[in-house]
């Protein structure tokens, strides 16, 4: 019997040479006439160990990493095919502390299965949620999702069940499920990892969403910079069609659901749901005003569920194990788990799926292992480029939508980016305006002109011109953008700006005591 060897095909592993490692292993096995079955799995989410090679042994899967092609011969020499010791040995994968401490519900299969193998998906509890859903009425499916307490993981944290209920109750001949896979926040990658590591869970989640609201067509609006995800999703969708999990008669149920991947147009703002819909319709990615909500008038004017990848990929386990099961995780009104993405100046960056309630400090220290540079961590930006910067004094805040809101911060899509003491927070505040200026769709005035003016005023602040007046102007501008912008891009740019000023006034040449007033 051939030995199963796993080399990830996740693009983070690929960027670290996983293809070369896989090729070297194949060649070496052939040369040594070793019978192996090379499986290209997703990533376990420990990027400092990528490419991480796993071998299936009688004791379980054994990991080695980070592996380079040069290590391959020595791995064979060390009989890694049978779990032999090697300087790169990491022991049994399941025993690696990083993984062991997590609660992987949404990411249950990522890194374990062959992402494009439907058999593998089914063998690992895949499509159990859909089978259950097919036995339920649309309203009962929505109830399960409502009961689970799942909130939109794209950042807005709107209760998924309520959104679905709105679409369910909107009468229309055609409804749509749109998956927002335009993952553009800096430091975030959980959507990509799901799509590359377990595409079927997203397909299944969207199919269930279709049944729940009466939609027969789904679109995945995929970030244009995710070519690997595109291929993997399309291959998985093909397989799902052939096996009757998609199409006009899902598993003989009489229900129809079609699914298509659309490549995004390459604009950050198209991750905003209404400009995403515009883009999907073939127009410029311009933000729409709300109301009408997309749930009432969405894609092509029809009722549409627009959900983030993680929200949809969490639906199968809710339908498999029930809303109550999922609800038991988490704290307060933040139920279930959040796939947190560690990035920036940390020793160990990667994906941590934990129930809500874990503190930032636990994430940075227990998982992240402290800063990569060895200097103290001074600031953390949570929730992408429009999230607030948190100072050390706020590191004990639990990951919880409401707790973050209380300190004028956001969880967003769960991205955590760490900065050490070398960071200049004035530059970061300027960068926030610059990011907004580059990504603004240009529709509303506060964002279109304000972002550019913000950069310019920050330049004046940084060069010491009329500091007090210009800081006051930045604050007034932030107020205009916060209250006046059409969408969250302009509306949230003040979060990083004002948090930087308020928590790190010394970087702006301001007196800390004065700012505190």
């Amino acid at each position: 019997m051939s030995i199963k060897v796993y080399v990830p095909r996740d693009s983070s592993a690929l960027s670290l040479g996983a293809h070369d490692v896989a090729a070297a292993i194949s060649a070496e096995a052939q040369a040594r006439q070793q019978d192996i079955q090379l499986i290209r799995n997703g990533s376990r989410g420990m990027f400092w160990l990528e490419p991480m090679v796993e071998v299936e042994t009688a004791q379980g899967r054994v990991a080695y990493g980070p592996v380079t092609p040069d290590d391959v011969a020595s791995l064979f020499e060390a009989d890694f095919l049978h779990g032999g010791k090697h300087p790169l040995s990491l022991g049994l994968t399941a025993e690696i502390a990083w993984l062991k401490k997590q609660e992987r519900l949404t990411f249950a299969r990522v890194g374990i299965t062959d992402p494009v193998s439907l058999d593998d998906y089914i063998a690992h509890d895949g499509y159990r949620g859909l089978h259950n859903a097919l036995k339920l009425s649309a309203a009962e499916i929505v109830k399960q999702v409502t009961d689970s307490g799942l909130r939109g993981r794209g950042g807005a944290a709107f209760p998924t069940g309520i959104k679905w209920n709105t679409v369910l109750n909107a009468p229309a001949e055609q409804k749509y499920i749109v998956c927002n896979a335009d993952e553009g926040d800096s430091g975030t990658y959980s959507d990509r990892m799901i799509m590359e590591g377990d595409p079927y869970v997203l397909i299944e989640g969207m199919t269930i969403a279709g049944l729940a609201v009466g939609a027969t067509q789904g679109y995945i609006y995929l970030r244009s910079e995710y070519p690997d995800a595109l291929h993997i999703l399309n291959e998985a969708i093909d397989h799902a069609y052939h096996a009757g999990y998609l199409g006009e008669n899902i598993l003989g149920s009489g229900h129809r659901f079609d699914l298509e991947v659309r490549r995004a147009a390459g604009a950050y703002v198209c991750g905003e749901e209404t400009s995403l819909l515009e883009s999907l319709e073939g127009k410029r990615g311009l933000v729409r005003f709300k109301p009408p909500l997309p749930a009432i008038e969405g894609l092509f004017g029809k009722p549409t569920v627009v959900n983030n990848v993680i929200s949809l990929a969490t639906v199968p386990i809710i339908l498999d194990k029930g809303g109550e099961f999922y609800r038991d995780f988490g704290m307060g009104r933040s139920r279930g788990t959040l796939p947190i993405q560690l990035a920036g100046n940390l020793k160990q960056c990667g994906l941590v799926e934990k129930a809500f309630g874990i503190t930032l400090r636990e994430l940075l220290e227990d998982f992240g292992g402290g800063s990569a540079s060895g200097k103290p961590i001074r600031a953390v930006q949570v929730g992408g480029p429009l999230g607030a910067y948190l100072p050390e004094s706020q590191f004990d805040t639990p990951m919880d939508y409401e707790k973050f809101s209380e300190i004028w911060a956001v969880l967003g899509h769960g991205g955590v980016v760490a900065f050490d003491t070398s960071v200049d927070m004035a530059k970061m505040a300027r960068y926030a305006f610059e990011f907004c200026a580059i990504e603004s769709c240009g529709k509303c005035t506060p964002c279109r002109i304000g972002s550019t003016r913000g950069m310019e005023v920050m330049d004046k602040v940084m060069s010491g011109q009329n500091k007090d007046e210009n800081i006051a102007l930045v604050r007034d501008l932030s107020d205009t953008m916060l209250n006046g912008s059409l969408c969250a891009l302009g509306g949230m740019t003040p979060f990083p700006v004002l948090s930087a000023i308020n928590h790190f006034p010394e970087d702006f040449g301001l007196d800390k005591a004065q700012v505190a007033k």
């Binding site: 410029r284 109301p291 580059i438 240009g442 509303c444 005035t445 506060p446 279109r448 972002s451 310019e456």
Partner: protein, 952 residues
């Protein structure tokens, strides 16, 4: 009727059509508005004006400027009032300290990227940005002016009528949205994003773009970014007078915005019943001809057309004309005299002219140019439905589910209605186009016809037979409607006729050149697709079977129950501004006003009593009869007002021969038109800006024409006719055009309730307007047809005698284009020539290749009637075997080629079908050479008259 230039309230967002009322409170005032209204709309209705820049009530809300934010009790944040719908019990505050801060913050950003040249800006005092800066109390711009900006952006002055100055642009997208939502051309877009967002048209500039110069973007612009060059030149106008466009049959209302006697600009009137604030390049911009140097403003006379003109006083000119008419009357008899009015005349001018001919001269020899365009409509609709007019109001199209366009090109010929139709099509209505040519409606941005029945010219009646066949043989007749509303016997006859195998799509497919399955599918769609409306133009009427086709159209509308309510109907798109009106006014040789036959004793008695003269019971001569009679030496004097038969009528050489045969041709016009070159008396006319009266558009809408400046020629046209009448011994005592309209109303049942006073009150009114319908009749035949029961007519297809053969293997069909109007006398004397400086011949690549013709080559076009030369435009818009041209330029000689074949019932010429041969040539035709020589001579005769020495 002088009004301020900003006379209309802008509600910010369109009105809601909901019948449900919602009550809310705005700044403490309770207001009830239709559900679906925006908070902004409700606020304005409550007398509260919310600051705004990107919102205007001709466009859907957009929500980009963020000035109109409000606070709503119990809701978070600051929702935009333009995009937030009202809800029962809302408590809205439009003015709070926080809102003031946000608005000032937004305005500070705007002004940080705007030139500070208000005092020298063309819209100083008429600028929404300026107003808003004041309204929000902006006092300083703390960003300074050294940041990134657009102040150095280059101006685009490529369009002759307006300029685009991006340095003043606030990127509100109103222009882009107006182009999309109002005009439907999609020529503009926003290029780039963020701070780099800018309005873009085409690759280089406006003239290089798809822009059709309708002016909607200019009108929508809240700043001086897009502005009329005339405002740049003259400054912001002082006051406004509402009048009616003198171009096509849409009949748009315009506000002539004035400075003293200077027209500064024409703005489509927001309350215009036909246009609702929209316009096209002609009405909006092409009015400069009124002051063109070619305009003749002094009367002229001469003995012979080979003599130079003599400038004379009005009294002399009128006395001379009267003496000549009297002489000819005595010498040859009254039958030798006649009059021709134009559809460009007002109702009042047409009325007094026909009165002069009938009452003073005692003949019915009066005809109008509808003879050569829509006379079959008058005949066909009268026969079938009982009234010589379209059945609908334009707005009806917004309720249509299927739109069937036959032989019309609304986006060029009736552009403002074309835009409305396109709006309905974008909303999802289905479209069938029957046209030999691929008109823009077949495929244009966000529009595609469901069926384009690309029939061969001259086969219309075969088309209607095939469609009728499908309707009667596939059980698509609305029998209950037909039984209740129509003459059953006539229906049965028609049904049996249509059901004949020779009328099946399969039998006629080859003749038509249209696949049978398309004919069947189109017929099914028309009959079963919901509210189905037919819109047709001269492609229906200008045929040897024009009247047959009109009746055929009425047949299928009745058979499918598509008459008598909104969204359906039979709609002739009238070519000129007053085709409907000139026909209504009794300018046809057989009918008094209101389509009453001259042989009807009661009607004649009525007019005899009113006019105090005996009237003839015999129909007079039609235009072609007058011309034939002239050549035979029996017709000697013609009074021709505003019409240019030497250019617009078929077989030009026949027309000019006839004119040369007359002894006294009196032409009343603005310019020395082609007919005037054969005239003996020239009465200079007044332009539409210089006179009062009414025009009646294609939907029977009577709209006021108001004098905004003193007539350059000294008097209004009706006054000239009245003076001539008086000189002929029949004094016409009218003080004002309104007196004439009162006389018309008194003598015409369908006009009974019409008066200038009513038009002042209502803006416009659609006839019939009488005691029963005091505010007019938008939709006709609702409960019963005007003739009682609708009548079906058998419409046997008879192929035209104008057939292709070896000598003339191609079919020429004619039409018009957007920028030019009819004979071009007006539009050729404006900057509209920038789009169309000459007429060209459209020819299919296959036919061009067969003849070795390349794009831009001179080609000779010869027919049985004559020969002319123009440049070739090779295009697949025309089908192989068909060539196409326009007749806007006299030197093109398009009508030198057309023949005298005409409609069997009305003599409407068969302009749309002429067998021709086309060949590559190296020089202009003999006719064109003669034309050039003759024109030079005649222009010279006018110039000699202008010399003071000759006047004395």
């Amino acid at each position: 009727m002088k009004k301020p230039i900003n006379q209309y309230t802008d509600y910010g967002t369109p009105a809601s059509s909901s019948t449900e009322q919602v009550t809310l409170e705005i700044d403490g005032t309770s207001i009830s508005v239709p559900a679906g209204s925006s908070i902004m709309h409700a606020a304005v209705a409550a007398g509260v004006s919310v600051p705004k820049l990107c919102a205007t009530d001709s466009l859907e809300p957009f929500g980009s400027c963020r000035l109109c934010l409000v606070e709503i009790e119990g809701r978070r944040g600051y929702p935009a009032s333009c995009t937030t719908p009202v809800a029962e019990g809302l408590k809205v505050k439009t003015q709070t300290p926080k809102l003031a801060d946000i608005r000032r913050g937004v305005m500070e950003l705007y002004i940080s990227d705007h030139p500070l040249d208000c005092l020298t800006c063309a819209t100083n005092g008429d600028c929404e940005l300026q107003d808003m800066a004041g309204a929000v109390g902006l006092r300083e711009v703390r960003y300074g002016y050294d940041g990134e900006n657009h102040l150095q952006s280059e101006k685009d002055t490529s369009n002759p009528y307006f300029q685009f100055d991006p340095s003043k642009c606030i990127v509100c997208s109103r222009c882009v949205r107006a182009c999309e939502e109002v005009q439907g051309t999609f020529a503009l877009t926003i290029q780039g994003r963020g701070f780099e967002s800018k309005v873009a048209s085409g690759v280089t500039d406006f003239m290089d773009s798809e822009c059709v110069s309708c002016g909607a973007c200019v009108q929508a612009c809240p700043t001086a970014t897009l502005i009329e060059k005339s405002v740049v030149q003259h400054g912001v106008p002082d006051y406004s007078i509402t009048t009616t466009c003198a171009y096509c049959g849409v009949g748009c209302s315009f506000d002539a915005q004035m400075k003293g006697e200077q027209v500064v600009r024409m703005i489509p009137s927001k309350h215009g019943g036909a246009n609702h604030g929209h316009s096209c390049v002609k009405g909006r911009f092409a009015w400069g001809y009124a002051t063109h140097k070619d305009r003749i403003t002094t009367p002229m006379i001469r003995k012979s057309i080979h003599d130079a003109w003599q400038q004379v006083s009005w009294d002399e000119a009128i006395a001379y004309a009267a003496s000549e008419i009297s002489r000819i009357n005595q010498q040859y008899g009254k039958a030798s005299i006649g009059g021709i009015t134009s559809s460009r005349c007002t109702n009042e001018e047409v009325y007094v002219t026909q009165k002069l001919i009938r009452a003073v001269l005692g003949t019915n020899n009066v005809d109008t140019c509808a003879r050569v365009c829509h006379s079959p409509t008058g005949y066909g609709l009268k026969q079938t439905l009982g009234e010589s007019a379209g059945t609908q109001t334009f707005d009806s199209v917004m309720h249509s589910d299927v739109i069937f366009v036959i032989g019309a090109n609304p986006t060029d010929g009736h552009p403002v209605f074309g835009s409305q139709m396109k709006r309905r099509l974008r909303e999802g209505a289905k479209l069938i186009v029957a046209d030999p040519r691929q008109i823009d409606l077949v495929q244009s941005p966000h529009i595609r016809s469901d069926y384009h029945l690309k029939l061969r010219p001259g086969t219309n009646v075969a088309l209607i037979s095939a469609i009728s066949h499908v309707i009667v043989t596939e059980g698509l007749v609305k029998e209950d409607f037909v039984r209740e509303r129509c003459e059953w016997d006539s229906f049965e006859m028609w049904r049996d006729f249509a059901a004949k195998p020779e009328n099946s799509p399969e039998a006629l497919s080859e003749e038509l050149g249209v696949p049978a399955e398309d004919l069947r599918a189109a017929a099914r769609l028309y009959a079963t697709g919901g509210n189905a409306a037919i819109y047709y133009g001269l492609g229906v009427t200008e045929h040897s079977q024009g009247s047959t086709m009109v009746m055929g159209i009425a047949n299928i509308a009745m058979a499918t129950g598509n008459v008598g309510r909104e969204g359906v109907g039979v709609n002739p798109l009238r070519g000129q501004n007053n085709v409907q009106g000139s026909c209504d006014m009794g300018s046809m040789p057989h009918e008094f006003t209101g389509y009453r036959h001259v042989s009807d004793d009661a009607t004649r008695a009525l007019f005899e009593a009113a006019w105090g003269r005996p009237l003839s019971a015999d129909p007079g001569l039609r235009i072609p009869n007058m011309l034939d009679a002239a050549i035979e030496g029996k017709f000697k004097a013609l009074y021709c007002i505003g019409e240019d038969i030497a250019q617009s009528d078929p077989n030009t050489q026949h027309v000019t021969h006839a004119l040369e045969s007359m002894e006294c041709v009196i032409v009343q016009d603005l310019f020395l038109n082609e007919t005037a070159k054969f005239a003996h008396v020239f009465f200079p006319g007044a332009s539409f800006l210089e006179k009062s009266g009414t025009f009646t558009n294609a939907e029977r809408r009577i709209s006021p024409v108001r004098r905004v400046m003193t007539p350059k020629n000294g008097m209004e046209d009706w006054e000239i006719t009245a003076k001539l009448s008086t000189a002929l011994g029949y004094p016409m005592q009218y003080g004002h055009a309104s007196d004439i309209l009162d006389e018309i109303a008194a003598l015409t049942p369908t006009f009974r309730g019409v008066s200038f006073k009513k038009l002042d009150e209502l803006g416009s009114v659609q006839w019939p307007c009488d005691d029963e319908h005091p505010t007019g009749t938008p939709i006709m035949h609702i409960d019963e047809f005007v003739r009682g029961k609708g009548k079906f007519f058998i419409t046997q297809y008879v192929p035209t005698t104008e057939k292709v053969n070896g000598r003339y293997p191609l079919l020429l069909t004619t039409g018009r284009i957007l920028s030019q109007y009819n004979v071009g006398a007006q539009t050729r004397r404006t900057d509209n020539v920038a789009w169309h400086k000459e007429d060209v011949l459209e020819i299919h690549p296959h036919d061009a290749e067969d003849r070795g013709i390349q794009e831009g080559d001179w080609v000779g076009i010869s027919s049985r009637a004559g020969e002319t030369v123009m440049r070739a435009l090779i295009t697949e818009r025309v089908q192989p075997g068909v060539v196409y041209t326009t007749f806007h330029h006299p030197e093109s000689g398009a009508n030198v080629i057309t023949t005298e074949n005409s409609d069997w019932a009305t003599n409407c010429p068969e302009f749309k079908v002429t067998a021709v041969q086309v060949n590559k040539v190296s020089q202009i035709s003999d006719w064109q050479r003669n034309f050039k020589r003759f024109t030079e001579q005649q222009v010279n005769f006018v110039e000699q008259a202008s010399k003071p020495a000759n006047v004395s």
